[in-house]
């Protein structure tokens, strides 16, 4: 078994953050362009056209697409057939510091009480890292995600109220949350987690935003049709691009279901602005790196 070195993980983390900050993934761009073609309002078209232009400028000039590069978050899957030498967290933190300095990312991470800003985007448990394990995989997968504060602020969490049929209550709550999210820079990507405990549901809803490709359906046909129904409903709200009216309020809506406590059916709705920024790569046991989404090297 070959070792994956911490320095390589740090370098991959740096490159993923660099990529995520400046390059709108191709699947997101495709949905944005389709929305531009479909949008029937003049103002909505101007807003969408400006977004597409901005994404092109960001990629060509290596400028962060949005000035709010969020709080760096990583989702790591450790394959059972690789051995890691060194501390994964520490490596991801080093990659984050370098990206903050060199991309640069905005120095967003501060102490919540004193507002002290170390200027590195590292500290007090940040970057956030979620770990998963896949016993038959011969790689270490790293997904980096950057989501701005405006999107995160719109997160909605509840225990599904009783008294109304449960599915109806879920649908209404999702629509209400989307109607309130006009400041989260629509067109939105909507992540929904039905079930789980409240604290895990919120995390799973945010994770649902990262489904690849964006806009693909849940493999369960019933959930796929719920996704379709809710997306159509959100797009009839009239919030529109940038929240200034129009046909395009959401680009995609992803639903996940998690086992729920019988007395506590949770529901969480998370949002991403149109600038869904994520990048992922696999580091194989032989030290080679495969760049997944978006593809391509540096």
């Amino acid at each position: 078994m070959v070792m994956v070195e911490g320095d390589l993980i740090a370098d991959v983390a740096f490159k993923l953050l660099s990529k995520a900050a400046v390059e709108l993934p191709g699947d997101v761009m495709r949905l944005l362009k389709e929305a531009y073609t479909r949008e029937s309002t003049v103002r909505g078209k101007v807003m969408l056209g400006t977004m597409i232009d901005a994404a092109e400028v960001a990629r060509k000039e290596g400028r962060p697409l949005c000035q709010d590069t969020g709080i760096p978050m990583f989702f790591v899957t450790i394959g059972g057939k690789v051995k890691v030498k060194g501390d994964i967290r520490d490596a991801l933190a080093r990659g984050t510091e370098k990206a903050t300095r060199e991309v640069p990312l905005r120095e967003n991470v501060v102490h919540p009480l004193t507002s002290r800003n170390p200027g590195t985007n590292v500290g007090w448990g940040v970057p956030y890292v979620w770990y998963d394990y896949k016993y038959d995989a011969d790689y270490l997968e790293v997904v980096a995600a950057l989501r701005g504060g405006g999107s995160a602020f719109a997160t909605f969490l509840t225990v599904i109220p009783s008294g109304v049929p449960r599915l109806k209550a879920v649908k209404r709550a999702v629509i209400d949350a989307a109607a309130r999210a006009s400041y989260a820079c629509p067109p939105l990507i909507v992540g929904v987690c039905i079930g789980g405990y409240p604290e895990t549901a919120a995390g799973e809803a945010a994770r649902a935003l990262l489904r690849v490709p964006v806009g693909s359906s849940n493999p369960d046909p019933e959930l796929a049709s719920l996704e379709e129904e809710l997306l159509a409903s959100v797009n009839r709200l009239g919030v529109g691009p940038a929240g200034l009216g129009g046909d395009t309020t959401a680009l995609a809506l992803h639903v996940e279901v998690r086992g729920s406590h019988t007395a506590l059916p949770s529901l969480a709705v998370a949002f991403s602005c149109w600038a869904l920024r994520r990048a992922s790569a696999r580091i194989y046991a032989d030290g080679s790196v495969e760049w997944l989404h978006p593809p391509g090297g540096e």
Partner: protein, 197 residues
């Protein structure tokens, strides 16, 4: 949609002619503001101290840019608006007391700010959120920076801009308010969806 080119300083007459739905491209100087800078400014004024003259009558931009330090200066790499609703109180004071005529942001501001705009002659313009790469290209340089000890995003950046835009007028000085109109339509639609679903 009417396109309007403006240059700072902007007169009351020019601002009063702006109407909701107009698209503005702005030349001149704008000053960035966020939560901590407003806190400091109002604390200083409370204590009877002064704030820099350049803040008076300025165009305010609710923005915490990404800025790169290069030898002897700064480059604005990415600059877009932050959510303005949390500055309603601060802007209504700034419009009344500091002579602010244009406020740039996103997401709209509350009634107090709308009242100040109508009474004093000011307008609120929105950038397209998330399109910060595009707006940063229109920043020609950093004139000065104040209160850097608050951190790069929270500091006050005085920026020279050229054709900064598109900026959509969403609150004007005659009480027009595009977001209020959109949100009241959304509320009707939301209730209709409750029935359909």
């Amino acid at each position: 949609m009417v396109e309007v080119k403006l240059r700072t300083p902007v007169s009351e007459g020019e601002v009063r002619r702006l109407k909701v739905g107009d698209i503005v491209y702005l030349d001149g100087v704008v000053v960035t503001w966020r939560d901590r800078a407003y806190e400091r400014a109002f604390e200083l004024l409370e204590r009877g101290e002064s704030i820099p003259q350049v803040f008076m009558g300025a165009v305010h931009w609710h923005c915490g840019p990404i800025v790169k330090r290069v030898h002897g200066g700064w480059i604005v790499v990415s600059a877009g608006s932050t959510t303005s609703s949390r500055f309603t109180f601060q802007e209504s004071r700034a419009i009344r007391e500091w002579g602010v005529r244009l406020v740039i942001g996103k997401g709209g501001m509350g009634g107090e700010a709308a009242d100040a705009m109508r009474e004093c002659g000011a307008a609120y313009l929105e950038t397209v959120g998330g399109a910060a790469s595009l707006y940063a290209k229109r920043v020609r340089g950093v004139e000065s920076v104040y209160w850097l000890d608050l951190g790069v995003p929270e500091a006050v950046w005085v920026l020279r801009v050229e054709a900064l835009g598109p900026l959509l007028v969403t609150m004007d000085s005659s009480g027009g308010n595009l977001r209020r109109d959109v949100m009241s339509a959304v509320e009707k639609n939301r209730l209709r969806e409750h029935e359909i679903l």
